[in-house]
């Protein structure tokens, strides 16, 4: 069973949640090239390891939140409220191997 740590409700069964997707930066609407739109719409990192995602607590408090999950073990390392995470910063922190801050705080947004 996979436990998803909702920042409001604590750890709950994954069936209560909807996986919204890997955090992806939206390009500037007015000036984006077709390649940038392709990247935004279709390309994901799809790593076998830690990844930053948005989840939705569909059958609970209905919050959208950010979380860091390991895609091989499905273990969560941290999750945070606060609307939009800033995906590029968060992903950069991840790629750079920045160590986990305490649970509940976003990775350097």
């Amino acid at each position: 069973m996979i436990l998803v740590p909702c920042p409001h409700c604590g750890p709950r069964n994954v069936s209560e949640f909807r996986h919204v997707g890997e955090a992806t930066a939206r390009p500037a609407v007015a000036s984006a090239t077709p390649e940038q739109w392709r990247d935004y719409l279709y390309l994901r990192r799809n790593p076998a390891g830690w990844t930053i995602e948005t989840w939705y607590h569909r059958a609970g408090c209905r919050a959208y939140f950010g979380a860091e999950r390991h895609t091989v073990t499905n273990r969560f390392r941290r999750s945070w409220l606060g609307g939009q995470v800033s995906p590029p910063a968060a992903v950069a922190a991840l790629d750079g191997g920045v160590e986990a801050s305490s649970p509940g705080t976003p990775p350097s947004t």
């Binding site: 890997e22 719409l41 390309l43 799809n46 091989v72």
Partner: protein
């Protein structure tokens, strides 16, 4: 470039011999004698160079190797797999084969695969047990009925046996099905596709492996690709856990792991990896003829030649590289199957398992060339790629041998995602397998 001599040396070293043909007579002779059956494919030392290195020993990689050798005489080829052949989706799928897709291109493509599967046992001298028992996709609402009518008409124009049938005909084909109108999702009709069916997936993998091996292809199990060497923007070598291989061509046939391999050369693929689960019951007497699929109920079921019921559902709703089964899956599956066939409530589930699926945005594969010279892909096979193994292998082999992309896979190119040419196959590929 072609290190032909290296392969021949390797052969002598291994004492390679062409395997004897399998036959009824051979079976009797072997039964009387004490000799062990010869191995179906050989182990080799890793050569220092190959003309083509195929990464991934599933049906796609092995079929590509087989058709390279059989159709084009290119045999200085290695298929490497980080585990054992058929250890990926090719040994974990529910083996449904059909060609009743939605777009004319899709229908022709999958029909070619069905045709290749029909003669595969004879071609490979290996019984793949293709059982064309018919395929039913149920409609529970007007929307699906409309898509099915559309599919049936496209199918018929392409010469494929496919028709929409009503509840009485469904009941005749599957007497155990609850076609009453007082269920939660009443069955309004179905798309019936008589040539569809199931196959013994392991036999397909082993048959292609044996056929490729007999023609000189090297199959290396427990051999993981860990890096790709390039000069300029061309492939020059494959780095593995067993050493370096010089090669001008690498073909990525790694399905759920496809992006990890493409990352090695900086090629980005529109693929996300999702687990897909399946389950099998204890065997019972044959009672279920056709394969039954319900998109609305997210479930499909078939009965194997051994009598087991094989169930599948939709993918796990989040990306993952984990192949663990979940209780959520079994619970939902059981509920949905019993809505269709309440009478099987006493059957016990023996096993459940998961495999990794490489999901693309348009439920169609990504095949052909990439921006890196010599780096080819045959990926994005999602939940439906086993049925395409033969035709994909045939087409990829042609591309590698001739340098020209065959017409039947041209629409599956990687460039379509930047150019807004997505394939409209979702209606027929998303759930149905």
């Amino acid at each position: 470039m072609a290190p032909e001599g290296i392969r021949l040396l390797g052969r002598q070293r291994d004492g390679w011999r062409r395997p004897s043909r399998y036959s009824a007579f051979g079976l009797v002779r072997h039964g009387l004698g004490r000799a062990e059956w010869p191995r179906a494919w050989q182990e080799h030392d890793l050569s220092s160079g190959y003309d083509v290195v195929i990464v991934g020993g599933g049906v796609h990689g092995l079929a590509t190797a087989y058709y390279l050798a059989a159709n084009h005489g290119i045999t200085n080829v290695a298929v490497i797999d980080k585990g054992y052949i058929g250890g990926g989706g090719s040994g974990r799928n529910t083996a449904i084969i059909r060609s009743n897709y939605l777009t004319p291109e899709g229908v022709r493509f999958y029909d070619r695969s069905v045709k290749l599967y029909e003669s595969l046992s004879a071609d490979l001298n290996f019984n793949v047990m293709f059982s064309q028992r018919g395929h039913l996709t149920l409609a529970h609402n007007d929307g699906s009925l409309r898509t099915m009518r559309w599919r049936a008409e496209v199918n018929k124009l392409e010469g494929i046996d496919s028709e929409v049938i009503g509840p009485e005909d469904i009941k005749r084909l599957v007497p155990f099905m609850d076609v009453s109108t007082d269920t939660r999702y009443p069955i309004l009709g179905a798309l019936y596709h008589p040539p569809g069916g199931i196959i013994r997936h392991d036999a397909v993998v082993w048959g292609y492996a044996r056929g490729a091996d007999a023609r000189g292809v090297h199959i290396h199990q427990n051999t993981e690709l860990v890096g790709i060497e390039t000069v300029g923007d061309r492939v020059v070598g494959a780095l593995t856990n067993r050493g370096r291989i010089a090669t001008p061509v690498i073909v990525n046939c790694t399905a759920g792991w496809a992006t990890l391999v493409a990352d090695m050369v900086g090629v980005r693929l529109p693929i996300v990896t999702h687990p897909l689960q399946a389950a099998v019951t204890e065997p019972v007497k044959p009672f279920l003829g056709p394969v039954v699929v319900s998109g609305t109920l997210h479930v499909y079921v078939s009965q194997t030649d051994r009598g087991e019921l094989v169930f599948g559902a939709s993918t796990d709703p989040y990306p993952s590289y984990s192949m663990r089964g979940s209780l959520d899956f079994t619970e939902e599956l059981a509920g949905h199957v019993l809505e269709l066939m309440p009478s099987i409530a006493q059957l016990r589930v023996l096993r459940q398992w998961a495999g990794l699926c490489d999901i693309t945005p348009d439920f169609s594969p990504v095949m052909g060339v990439t921006p890196v010279g010599g780096f080819f892909v045959d990926v994005g096979w999602g939940t439906y790629g086993f049925k395409a193994g033969p035709v994909a292998g045939e087409a990829m082999a042609e591309l590698l041998a001739t340098g020209t992309t065959p017409e039947n896979i041209a629409g599956f190119d990687l460039a379509r995602f930047a150019e807004g040419r997505l394939v409209g196959e979702k209606g027929a590929a998303a759930v149905g397998h």
